[in-house]
């Protein structure tokens, strides 16, 4: 499957304006490092249920509910751990074939 360009990424948390925003900044930075064009939006868990996305990132306690609802769902616990997020995204993107040269 070819990678959507840009990737639509949601960062989620309970209210959609605290930790999801922090996570959005981390995710934007990591995706830039990976040279993957992406549009990252922070939102709350209940709004996210009604939204389409290619990637969903949040704390594990929130992302469990999204398994299977987006091609890539990543649960993290430390928003400051950019290397950890990059590793998780790299593995998940590889599994999708998103890191191969795009047509």
């Amino acid at each position: 499957m070819s990678r959507p360009d840009p990737l639509k990424v949601l960062t989620v948390c309970g209210v959609g304006m605290g930790s999801s925003l922090m996570l959005r900044m981390t995710a934007e930075d990591v995706l830039k490092r990976m040279e993957v064009p992406a549009k990252v939006e922070a939102t709350d868990v209940s709004s996210a249920r009604g939204m389409q996305a290619d990637v969903i990132i949040g704390q594990g306690m929130h992302t469990e509910a999204f398994e299977g609802r987006a091609p890539v769902v990543v649960g993290i616990s430390n928003f400051m751990d950019k290397d950890g997020l990059q590793q998780q995204l790299t593995e998940a993107f590889e599994a999708q074939g998103w890191l191969e040269p795009q047509p």
Binding site: V15, M17, G18, M22, Q59, N78, M80
Partner: protein
């Protein structure tokens, strides 16, 4: 620095006791209530957010960011940082125990983006250690000031 950041309330408290995570959230919100940056029922709403959605506000090891919605009584753009004498457990699988609690409030859903962005940048730059090292309110307040300068 943006005008909004300039007007934001930034307040710090060092080494306060707290009996459990609910009390830690109240203690962290106290300076915002005192400054009338949030209403008196705002701390309780912050606690209810965790009761409803889980301890997701513990966003890195030892660090919690307590907040509620604008309509829950956030009157001014504000952030408070409080270090605890004894760490408390929030029930977070990976990031417990917590010894640094931020409380923030934003009167609308857009204003806070610059402030939280500055806070995230400062945290990634080692702000948490500088706040933890502060022995009194004055020192903590001085360390926190970089958030307002760095926007």
């Amino acid at each position: 620095m943006s005008e909004l950041l300039e007007e934001a309330v930034l307040v710090g408290r060092a080494r306060r006791p707290a009996g459990g995570w609910r009390d830690a959230i109240r203690v962290a919100c106290d300076p915002l209530v005192e400054r009338e940056a949030v209403s008196e029922h705002y701390p309780q709403r912050c606690i209810e957010m965790v009761e409803e959605h889980g301890p997701y506000i513990v966003l890195a090891p030892g660090i919690a960011l307590a907040h509620a919605r604008p309509e829950d009584g956030a009157l001014r753009l504000a952030v408070a940082a409080t270090t605890l004498t004894e760490p408390v457990a929030f029930g977070h699988e990976d990031n417990d125990p917590v010894d640094l609690v931020f409380a923030f409030g934003s009167p609308d859903r857009d204003q806070h983006v610059g402030l939280l962005s500055a806070l995230a940048t400062a945290l990634l730059g080692g702000l948490a250690d500088r706040l933890r090292a502060a022995e009194d309110d004055e020192a903590l307040q001085a360390a926190l000031a970089e958030v307002g300068d760095g926007g």
